[in-house]
């Protein structure tokens, strides 16, 4: 969706919800929780990530808990999208519901930490400006694209409910 670019933060397989949203901080507001996002595997992440940056994972990104703060913490830090070889199913739905585009992309191995990426969620494309390559991702189903275009499930439902009342 975005024409902005951001830098890649690259991690391996099975990045879990406990490292994205550590239990010890779960009772705190998301602004506080987000400061500890990925702390267990990359202590510098939350302090250095910039709005528009992209998190790149391997297989089964977001496995574990149903806590949507795992996605919310990334949104709070300004992460524009997550690109991974595969996602755990609850994280995938949570991220989309919150308006954070997540793209399934088999060919991410070439992406290096710090590469400049441009994400086009609607067309399912990741452009790697640092390496001059374009990666094609799996297309996002139409009903989810419509939801992301509205900004997530709640604004999507607001629109539907308003339509129903009109």
């Amino acid at each position: 969706m975005s024409t902005e670019t951001g830098h890649a933060w690259v991690y391996g397989d099975n990045v879990d919800t406990d490292v994205l949203a550590p239990g010890a901080y779960m009772k705190l507001p998301v602004e506080e929780l987000a400061k500890h996002c990925l702390e267990a595997i990359d202590p510098g992440f939350a302090g250095a990530v910039r709005p528009g940056d992209v998190v790149v994972g391997g297989e089964n990104f977001g496995m574990g808990s149903s806590r949507e703060q795992a996605a919310l913490a990334l949104i709070e830090l300004g992460v524009a999208a997550v690109v991974a070889k595969s996602f755990a199913r609850i994280f995938y739905r949570n991220a989309m519901n919150l308006g954070l585009p997540v793209l399934v992309c088999a060919e991410i191995d070439g992406i290096a930490r710090g590469d400049e990426l441009r994400i086009d969620a609607q067309r399912g494309r990741v452009e790697n400006l640092s390496q001059g390559s374009v990666l094609q991702c799996e297309p996002i189903p139409d009903h989810l694209l419509a939801m992301i275009a509205d900004g997530g499930l709640l604004p999507h439902l607001e629109k539907k409910l308003a339509g129903g009342r009109a």
């Binding site: 099975n14 779960m26 806590r67 739905r93 189903p141 709640l154 439902l157 409910l161």
Partner: protein, 423 residues
Amino acid sequence: MTLAEKLVARAAGRDSVRPGEIVTCRVDLAMMHDSGGPRRVKPMLERLGVGVWDPAKVVVISDHYVPAVDAESAAILDLTRKWVQDAGIDAFHDMQGICHVVLPERGHLRPGLFVVGGDSHSTTGGAFGAFMIGIGSTEMAGVLATGEIWIRVPPTIRLGWLGRLGPGLSAKDMVLKMCGALGMSVGNYKALEYAGPAVAALDMTERMVLANMAAELGGKVGLIAPDETTLAYLRDAGAGPAEAGDWQTDPEAEIEATHDFDAGTLEPQVAAPHSPENAADVDAHAGVAIDQAYIGACTGAKLSDLHMAATVLRGRRVAPGVRLLVAPASTRTTQQAAADGTLAVLTEAGGILLPSGCGACAGLGAGVLAEGEVCISSTARNFQGRMGHAGSQVYLGSPYTVAAAAVAGRITDPRGMLTEQAA
């Protein structure tokens, strides 16, 4: 059709469905806890300007922040109690235990239901032949507002267990074996169905372990076809009329893959830090010294789990310098374990009782770990930092194996310590 397809078809109001189709399902029951529930969905419903679609179909269970340990957790519980009352929800089980155990215990589940739960281990409901999936809070707000949810019909993977478990082995060993052999994403977007004589021989609390840890195998659901064992449990729980009926996979149904295991040759399993898929035979980790042994969580502190621990701990003592913490999964579990003498065996051995709740398993309650400490736990997950400091180490094992490690002070094969069944 497979069991999963039959369950989805019913909820979607269709005669049949096929894997890959996206369908909208009517929700029969929605379950929430205090962490992902009212505190998160209340502002969302207010934003939408709607109430709960059907308060009689919603169950709320406080288990994450119980009992409150500080002002923040007290406020979360206070909000939960007030919202439940305002929303007109009668089925509120406050501080009665962990949601996945309390839900069937109080008769809310039956075969054939389509259920959503605001927790990843909601797959536990599959042990009762219900299609029960875990969802996040925004998704839950959508369900509460509309009574519906979209899903992609999952293909089914059959996990077959032949033979019979030997003494000192349990469903936890079975599911850790599968995590080690198949990995944590084998079930992603798929329905897992456990079957075979070794599964049929398990009682319901043990079947719940398999269904619960379908989450660790990545599964959307972890189903077990209902049978006489299921119906007997449901009668005792007062679940109302239930039938096994046609809730089983047809012989000619299309299965994506089958993985067979032999219960008869299964060794006790231990998963090393920081993943359940690091599971191996206990001998691979024998001798690892521990600081803490934890018997807790939805998957690891039901009555059957406490019985297993007691068969090891009867007449023995926890090793010096080691602490054994026991957090029964529900208040009813505590009552039953007190009545049959199990609690006395655990405490006489040196075990320390903790409140019923998610507790240290989720890094929330009493029993979290310091940097460098080593714990063996009957819980479901040992992700880095989940149970305390990021520099702590958590091994997973069955209640037998956790209890044996508490006695020995190090990880060991529990089969050398078995005594008569406690109850």
